[in-house]
Symmetry: C2
Subunit: 657 residues, 2 copies
């Protein structure tokens, strides 16, 4: 994509582990525009065996394999045999044929505007599918596994079987026969022609080496960081969501990310793409369609909306495909975002893990330039999939990612639109990270102006003075911590209940945007110092921490902090179903009423009225239960809840800064 003169060779073996993902990526042919996008030449190497047996594809009828690949849309070129030099010659011919066809496809698609490609001789015959897509060449190479290795060992055939997969000859130190076989095998490469007396490669070898950037080890396309250019980012101030007073207005926060990406598409026409499993509009990111369209190379009909071969919004309903595309796009120096329903991010978790491992290792190699980060937006989250139910409720990728070492894994939980804007700008500028951004798409309370959001996100976590009522110079009785949009609303609401109904209890609210700041500095580069941590959470007061994901994630992160046992974490405890939004937090014991009861239960001090307030909370939960069964929606006071303006509270004891 976006590399018009580049042909990527994609060589894949015939083990099912290799061809499985390839079946997914073969869909890619429907998303590759020859007028602008470069090309891929897949080479399926059918050598017949994997670690302990034959492969499925190698044992199927070859006509079926051909039909399968043609069905995927390819023009299949087959090379088969074990004769030498015939195989080399035929494979070279196949490569030439494929190359010629690719050039011809480019020339045909690009016409006179195709630049150098248009001047191509275009001698290859090329076919177009009736739906408007070229049939790109694909090579099937059938050669024996372990070809030219020992044919038979101890009377058993090795060449062409799974026995050639790992160690075809064992015990050569003690077995003279095996040693002789090894010698004859290695001598078959005629080392005397390849190396001189000092062991250096002869001119026969070196004369055929490419030079400079054409060396495989030096091509910038395999070290995409050197090709990376910073994104041209707009001034995010133009996208600010107005916030007059915290928690008093609602907005669909992810819409601002859509607006930001719209501008990224405009400003970076060849180096930014959004990848999304058919959910761009559903996730409120549809502003990108103002400036680009969904991409397809297949048939388009008049009823279609925002769909064309010129589109650069990559929608395919496969998390594997979207993830893989973004990986490749960033590894070759371009920028993007993979937006997915939170629960289905686990579909590609294994890819996320392996990419993180790759980035971790790459960071130790000086010659590897940093690449754009893999940005993953987790939206349509557990807490607001109340209509889809339990299968759509699963914040597991956060827990999966925080276990990674080093500088790679970042988890951001912006509570509102301006924080999302601030975090997104940071992620789009960052390099070689895996950034998870977790925020829901439904209308949600807004807390901070952009200036406040920028300061808050830079710090990663902070006290929200306006939400608490602590007295200057004294530690609060209890700290309410939160990370994540829905649980932040419950926390702010819980703090208000406490302020209004038990003003003598002193409460602090701490919001965490950058989850990794909770780590110790020795565990993560974003980790807060103990001093900063205790400035937020004190060193001995109980903390009721309300978390977007599984509670265990917080227990892991705060381990090792002063008296970590004082952290009482609420979060998603797999109490999922189809119900109302507020019932989701009730079922998971993370509602405002639960948080108030937790605060009362864990405060060392119990001002008069504590027991009555606890009873009131329970009665509110009972009311909720009755109401939603009758009305199938939440109580109006919950559904429409916004924070009280300062000063409107019954008691004036609030210690606002």
């Amino acid at each position: 994509m976006d590399n018009p003169d580049l042909i990527a060779l994609s060589v894949v073996g015939d083990g099912e582990a290799e061809t499985g993902p390839l079946e997914g990526s073969w869909k890619g042919i429907s998303f590759l525009n020859p007028a602008r996008d470069g090309a891929v030449l897949p080479i399926l190497h059918l050598n017949g065996a994997k670690i302990a047996g034959p492969t499925v594809l190698a044992r199927k009828d070859p006509a079926e394999v051909r039909s399968l690949l043609e069905g995927h849309g390819y023009d299949v070129i087959e090379v088969e045999g074990s004769d030498l030099p015939g195989m080399h010659e035929r494979f070279a011919e196949a490569l030439t044929e494929a190359y010629t066809k690719i050039r011809a496809i480019w020339a045909k698609a690009r016409g006179s505007e195709g630049g150098s490609a248009a001047t191509d001789p275009a001698s290859g015959e090329v076919e177009w599918s009736p739906t408007g897509r070229p049939r790109w060449p694909l090579i099937v190479l059938r050669s024996p596994k372990g070809w030219t290795g020992p044919h038979e060992v101890d009377g058993t055939v090795v060449e062409g079987t799974w026995r050639a997969h790992q160690v075809p000859l064992s015990g050569v130190k003690d077995n003279p026969e095996h040693l002789a076989l090894l010698e004859s095998w290695l001598r078959s490469y005629r080392p005397e022609e390849l190396f001189d007396d000092s062991g250096a490669p002869t001119p026969l070898v070196t004369a055929n080496n490419p030079e400079g950037d054409l060396r495989l080890s030096a091509t910038p396309h395999a070290n995409g960081g050197v090709l990376t250019e910073d994104l041209d980012l707009p001034d995010i101030a133009t996208l600010e969501t107005p916030v007059e007073s915290p928690a008093t207005s609602r907005a669909e926060s992810t819409r601002v990310l859509g607006e930001l990406m719209k501008q990224l598409y405009e400003r970076n026409p060849h180096s930014f793409r959004l990848f999304c499993p058919d959910e761009t509009n559903s996730n409120r990111l549809g502003a990108v369609f103002d400036v680009s369209e969904r991409m397809t190379m297949e048939r388009v009909v008049p009823e279609d909306v925002k769909l064309s071969s010129d589109g650069r919004v990559m929608e395919v309903l496969s998390e594997h495909n979207c993830h893989g595309w973004l990986e490749g796009y960033t590894l070759t120096g371009r920028h993007g975002l993979f937006a997915t329903y939170e629960a289905f991010a686990m579909v590609s978790a294994s890819q996320t893990i392996q990419h993180a491992k790759w980035l971790e290792e790459a960071a130790h190699l000086d010659w590897r330039a940093k690449v754009p980060s893999l940005n993953i937006l987790l939206t349509s989250t557990a807490w607001r999939n109340d209509h889809n139910g339990f299968s759509h409720q699963g914040p597991g990728l956060i827990t999966t990612m925080i276990q990674h070492r080093g500088d790679v894994a970042r988890v951001y939980l912006p509570p509102d639109a301006n924080c999302l804007l601030s975090v997104s700008e940071h992620c789009f500028k960052s390099r070689s990270h895996v950034n998870l951004i977790v925020i829901d798409k439904q209308p949600q309370l807004q807390y901070l102006t952009l200036d406040e959001a920028n300061a808050h996100c830079r710090a990663g976590a902070g006290v929200w003075d306006w939400a608490g009522n602590e007295l200057p110079g004294q530690d609060p009785d209890i700290v309410l911590g939160c990370a994540g949009d829905v649980v932040t609303m419950e926390t702010v609401a819980a703090a208000q209940i406490l302020r209004e109904r038990l003003p003598e209890l002193s409460v602090r609210v701490v919001n965490v945007v950058n989850l990794m700041t909770l780590s110790r500095p020795k565990d993560h580069p974003n980790g807060m110092s103990d001093m900063a941590f205790e400035e937020l959470f004190t060193n001995n007061k109980d903390v009721i921490f309300s978390f977007h994901g599984y509670p265990g994630a917080i227990h892991q992160l705060v381990h090792g902090r002063s008296d970590a046992d004082r952290f009482h974490v609420r979060g998603f405890i797999e109490q999922g179903t189809t119900t109302t939004p507020f019932d989701m937090v009730v079922r998971n014991q993370a509602s405002r009423y639960h948080l108030v009861m937790d605060a009362l239960n864990n405060s060392k001090r119990h001002p008069r009225g504590s027991a009555a307030l606890k009873a009131w909370c329970q009665s509110q939960l009972d009311r909720h239960e009755v109401y939603i069964r009758e009305h199938l929606e939440d109580l109006p006071e919950v559904r429409d809840w916004i924070a009280q303006e300062p000063g409107s509270e019954v008691s004036g004891k609030s210690g606002k800064a």
Copy 2:
């Protein structure tokens, strides 16, 4: 599989999320033996659109789609249109054609031994691929999305487009035009013929209903628990690994599981299968090949070993396939095990999660009978993938699973062969759990006799008196906890170092087999009471806990126990690479020397010699570093380490029970 008279209809939409996994499952055609296995009839419903746009398959050239499906090996039957009743009639004909072909395939494959199937008229024409596999029928059904729904709304076409995916008509309460459209749509079903005046279905409806078990809601094949029969299990005492003295002999523990499964194959010829991504031998489970073979319906050649269409060992190099097969096999009442490299279990983590969620929900439905558990063997683990390197090192599935609620998730970390035997027997008897069994395949120390192992595994965790030296009636100075084979060896070795070199420090060793016992009873049914927990771990002594997986998993599980901060956990902290086995534990700071230093650093008491011992540990680590760089293998004293026999220790202060 193993249901010779059953045809399963598999209906799949054309969204990429549906057809993606299906592409994997289409490989299943190479693993289905018509002589014994029943059949699947896939129906690909190409209605053209998903949530926000067209599907890839629907917009590809129909000839390509046909070629693709024929390439997978099917005999494609196509039904297309929107005419009525023509579509109903043609679809009925297609079903009849497919059914007839399946019966004909069965008859041909089963010959005179095929029982009822052999007497089938076999009138359908059936084709066999040249590799020996029938071309099973597959139906492609092309009908408009939203067919018979409102064709156009507000001047925009809905029928046949993605707009019909969710809510084709909105605002019917306020929009009279939309209400009229809704009425006309619903009246098109002629409700007056379907319901009587009281709203009950008329005989026209009820007369066509199947009865008894033929009702979809009542078929036992969709409620496999009612068909489930207990496995016929052998007496595991016959498979005991002799252990004369703990930690003094080595064995490849997973071999006993292979022997156990060999007997399961023999005793349960139609209800047990092993599913494995081409690693049965690699994982030391090869004993099953004494009694069964790898399954294939494709071409078999003379060089093949243990491969035939009669085989019931399911090897395909795809975790997705293996997991899905086992899910289906257990849901229809049969038993099995999915054995995989630990790191690659994350490939199918999303399937594991969704299956666990399904089991959790099913447990709340009285009419759903419990099904055999989904047993997953995680072997070739992080600690012993020292030759494969970082990509093969990832114990993430444990952390993913412990977050699940209720009774479903179980994680077992047997430290040796007899514990594995005990745990496996339990898992094969269990119902409706997801059992993770984590143990490596390499030669490892053996600790317990089978009687001891059975008692230990029943308890789930216990003190290993022989490994420690605590004095009767007194709490130890430090507790060394462990869960997992390699880390248990390091812990036992650390305890021996402490016993030998600092006998005045009192040490207890606690081994945990059933990880969920660490939970509180309110969090998991296997959770230990606080009393039991404190009997093992005391209520205030520091615990150096050495864990197979990510340390955070233990921090999560022990949260809420008395002074949980005293748990200092070592585990896999993503320090992976290609190195020596012992270097893996050194890099992750979980070696015996690290554990000794942790014990010394955290003990409240420091007997004379503590500082010197700490220095010695550091010097051992330095020696290790130098040695492996020179010799590319571990120090002999580490490589060949076994426990000292009791009484042979320098100091006689050991307080063994």
